[in-house]
């Protein structure tokens, strides 16, 4: 499979992985077809019964081309390393674009860790959530920045698409949720013609959203990463408001706060997260960061270009209806799929250093890929316990 992969190549690679590793790998077609009639499939890797359920996703935003490719190559490397009982090797990479080449050395994850992961984790990978959007984004340079899915326009409108990462059933109705300032800053819109962040006609209205939600619920996912680009960040809940650990009554379900949430750091309202859960997110996030940074070698330029920030999702713009917050919310909604859910948004790559923003060129893609592999292997090590 060559980067950037077409939608068809991604589906073919999923089928190949399942066919080549039948004892370990099962391919499942998600229950809902997309608006354009495509099926979405994911693979489950299980080396033993009863592993901790993990979900890795990518491609929710059509224009972010690298994450699905990197998730599939990670699966390939993991399965081959396990079956051969060898280390998982992330090859060295030399970036030849700068005036002086930058070399990132090879890194390896020990065979014992690979074994522990495969035998103690039930690993689900849905590499491409939004195939319709990706196909559209890859149809011409004029469409390259398309972000949403391809929900058809309403009668009398020409505006297609929903931002799937605003469509999950958590604080979906942002106008009810925030005060005026928070409402003005929130990264969400009820206008179907909004090119970026239209939330859809109702919570989880989109088949792609329901596919992910059903895996999260049905498989009782306890560890989740949604892989995006770009900004070299490892983000953890919450995106709706700033985190606080003191007052459990300040939460997205409490109607007493409706219209009064500020959606900004500081301020009277903060989204509650138990202290132990916050600490665990910081700890695992730091391990993911260190995995990338620790494999960057000694060249200061490589180190600077491998430095990811670990921080809560809320920065300048509050977000509602996101996959990562929704996954985390399930542990509080009474359907608790697990005693706790660890959930991240991994934002890979950069606008700078020749990394190409949403669409890295093939020459730099191996750097992006290695960062995904190193971070997610650290995550999987944590999930394996």
């Amino acid at each position: 499979m060559t980067y950037p992969a077409t939608v068809r190549a991604i589906e073919a690679e999923l089928a190949r992985l399942a066919a080549d590793h039948p004892a370990l790998c099962t391919r499942t077609v998600a229950p809902n077809r997309t608006h354009e009639g495509r099926s979405v499939s994911y693979v489950t890797v299980t080396g033993a019964v009863g592993g901790r359920p993990v979900l890795l996703t990518g491609g929710i935003h059509a224009r972010e081309w690298a994450p699905p490719d990197a998730l599939l190559s990670l699966l390939d490397r993991l399965l081959r390393a396990y079956e051969d009982d060898t280390d998982l090797v992330v090859p060295a990479f030399t970036d030849t674009a700068p005036a002086r080449d930058i070399t990132y050395p090879a890194a390896s994850i020990a065979a014992a860790d690979v074994r522990r992961i495969v035998e103690r984790v039930e690993l689900n990978v849905l590499a491409l959530i939004n195939p319709d959007g990706r196909a559209f984004s890859q149809s011409s340079a004029a469409n390259a920045l398309w972000r949403k899915n391809r929900r058809p326009p309403r009668a009398g409108s020409s505006c297609a698409g929903v931002d799937l990462n605003r469509n999950y059933d958590i604080a979906w109705d942002f106008e009810r949720y925030y005060d005026g300032a928070g409402d003005a800053a929130v990264s969400a819109s009820k206008d179907p013609c909004d090119f970026q962040v239209y939330i859809g006609p109702s919570p989880a209205s989109e088949p792609e959203t329901r596919n992910v939600a059903s895996i999260l619920r049905d498989r009782r996912i306890a560890f989740y990463v949604d892989t995006h680009s770009f900004s070299r960040k490892i983000l953890f809940p919450w995106g709706m408001d700033d985190d606080q650990t003191r007052d459990s009554a300040q939460n997205w379900r409490n109607p007493e706060w409706d219209g009064r949430r500020d959606g900004a750091p500081g301020g009277p309202y903060g989204e509650f997260i138990p202290a132990a859960l916050l600490d665990e997110h910081v700890r695992i996030g730091q391990a993911m960061r260190e995995a990338i940074l620790g494999a960057a070698g000694s060249d200061p330029r490589a180190l600077a270009r491998s430095a990811y920030d670990v921080e809560p999702s809320l920065a300048l713009y509050p977000t509602t209806g996101t996959a990562s917050d929704f996954a985390a919310s399930l542990q509080f909604d009474g359907e608790a799929p697990a005693p706790r859910v660890i959930s991240y948004t991994l934002e890979i790559g950069s606008d700078a250093d020749g990394e190409g923003g949403f669409q890295p060129v093939p020459a730099i893609y191996p750097k992006i890929e290695r960062e995904v592999h190193l971070a997610l292997m650290a995550f999987l090590r944590a999930a394996a316990g």
Binding site: T2, P4, T6, S140, Q196, V197, K233, Y317, P362
Partner: protein
Amino acid sequence: MQLIRIAGPTEPMRRLAEVDGLDFERTSARRLGDDRWQVSGYATDGALEALRERGLEVEAVVEPEQLAEQRRVLFSRLEADQAREAEEQ
């Protein structure tokens, strides 16, 4: 169209969604100081002008020609793959 970084005080930076022709990546927001932020995004010429009119600083990260060349490389590869897939069907 070019890839840019925008910097400025919190209040106008929280209202970037109002700028036509600007497609910014929200998670790229970085705090530069007490009341200053930086965000990356793709901008048309019209958006660049609107950003400057709002008193925001704009720095080009990938110039239009370079962005067009990156797209050319990517789409030539995609078109080759899509043609091969069509033949295989």
